[in-house]
Symmetry: C2
Subunit: 273 residues, 2 copies
């Protein structure tokens, strides 16, 4: 988890993605954390409408934003500045507004998971789509929401519904990535095929023989107990390596028993076979 | 968005939920942000394995954790302390380990979206499930991962894969809430049924009459242009209120025109009808 796993050999997630439009964000740190969340999920188009503390033109970045971005500096450097929400959405074909509470507007309301498959299809066909996020404390004004085609809101605990700005962007990015690129894993499971059955059945035979010698089976229960053991082992879907490992473990257990019976406890741990 | 929308009249999301187990977290702020993310999505069982800077016993909380929790103090106060990962998972029936990179262990690998429907079913039937999260910089040790039944990892941009601890917990909580409670919206769309068709067709008639008077239709194109207009308006799925609003707008436009024709521009804006 965390802090690792970045694959510098990969090209990452290229191509167009939804614009993230922050309307009058108050804290530079939040803009930085938004940039990091965007980079995590392949979003790149950041638009800022009148950040409260201003925004340097000409390449510099506010210190708080730079630090909080944890390396997503390219997103901050590419951010576009706008005087109002209307100009920030001018080139977009479809606009969503985020809000955590009902504003009484007759708009369609989607969750990120509901909206993103359609958004991914539109962006794939060349449309531009953006999402408006409001001020940290007060959100979007009703007039800004009325610029949007639809509302997007988040499934949260109604008793504790306050998501911070970067977390809201993070969830939007997460659903964007899932819709556009799939629920991809950064690495695959280490898969090997299950062993051929002759190897599995041979392990059963060996284990049952050794258990016979150890007095494990009451004579009248041998059949049913052996079947139960086989069912336990079947659940493992053993690979060939698993079969060899378990065979070795059975051998060590039974050899150790024989040695104890003959010589008493071994003076040193025997090498594994 | 953000900072608003909490419904204090709701009971929130009660009932058992997966345990979030932080192994040797380094920063108290991160523990606080994890608590907030948990509260956002109805998680409540926080377990701490040897926080680097210690953890007060007897009710007090580290200042940084308290502030970063933004009110999710009940989660921090209920946090259980453990000396190691083994003891922290002792009562659980199923354990997942988070990791961002392949550890070469022969484990099943799931995304949060893949694992959570099964987790929700298990928790619904009384099983206890937990997720191990590692240290901020270095993650879980291989021995800790080997305590887990399976691995969970996050779909992220391979070029920028570093999720912080609270963001990883946030995504886990988000998928837990969706699996256990559905992709719920904190509020519904303001829905009214589409208007009865007589009202819609009457609006068409009124609009087309007024457009006739305004010279909108070339005589040989009237039929097809009227049909196109009707198609535009059909897309609105107008409610009765929509019909009244648009009827009023058509009236204001055509009355304004008549007045201009008769008197020149009106001295004051007429009241809406």
């Amino acid at each position: 988890m965390t802090g690792s796993g970045t694959d510098h050999t990969s090209n990452g997630l290229q191509g167009p993605s939804p614009a993230i439009i922050l309307v009058e964000p108050q804290l530079a740190e939040n803009i930085g954390m938004v940039a990091r969340a965007m980079a995590n999920f392949g979003l790149s188009d950041l638009r800022l409408v009148k950040p409260r503390d201003g925004w340097p033109t000409g390449g510099g970045l506010p210190k708080g934003a730079h630090q909080a971005a944890s390396g997503a500096v390219h997103i901050l450097q590419g951010a576009a500045l706008f005087p109002d929400a209307r100009s920030a959405i001018a080139d977009l074909n479809l606009v969503f507004a985020t809000t955590a509470r009902n504003r009484g507007q007759m708009k369609r309301v989607f969750t990120p998971a509901e909206m993103m498959p359609d958004v991914a299809a539109r962006i794939g066909s060349g449309q531009r789509v953006g999402v408006l996020f409001g001020r940290e404390r007060t959100g979007l004004e009703n007039d800004e929401i009325s610029l949007a085609d639809a509302i997007v809101t988040f499934p949260v605990n109604p008793q504790f519904a306050s998501l911070n700005l970067a977390q809201a962007v993070l969830l939007m990015g997460y659903e964007w990535l899932r819709a556009a690129h799939g629920d991809v894993k950064p690495f695959a499971a280490e898969t090997q095929p299950p062993a051929r059955r002759e190897m599995v059945v041979s392990l059963f035979d060996y284990l049952e023989d050794e258990l016979d010698r150890g007095g494990f089976f009451p004579p009248d229960k041998r059949e049913i107990m052996a079947r139960n053991l086989r069912d336990i082992l079947h659940r493992l879907e053993m690979t060939e390596q698993d079969c060899r490992t378990l065979r070795g473990a059975v051998h060590a257990l039974s050899e150790g028993r024989r040695r104890r019976v003959k010589d008493g406890p071994p003076p040193v741990r025997p090498p594994s076979s």
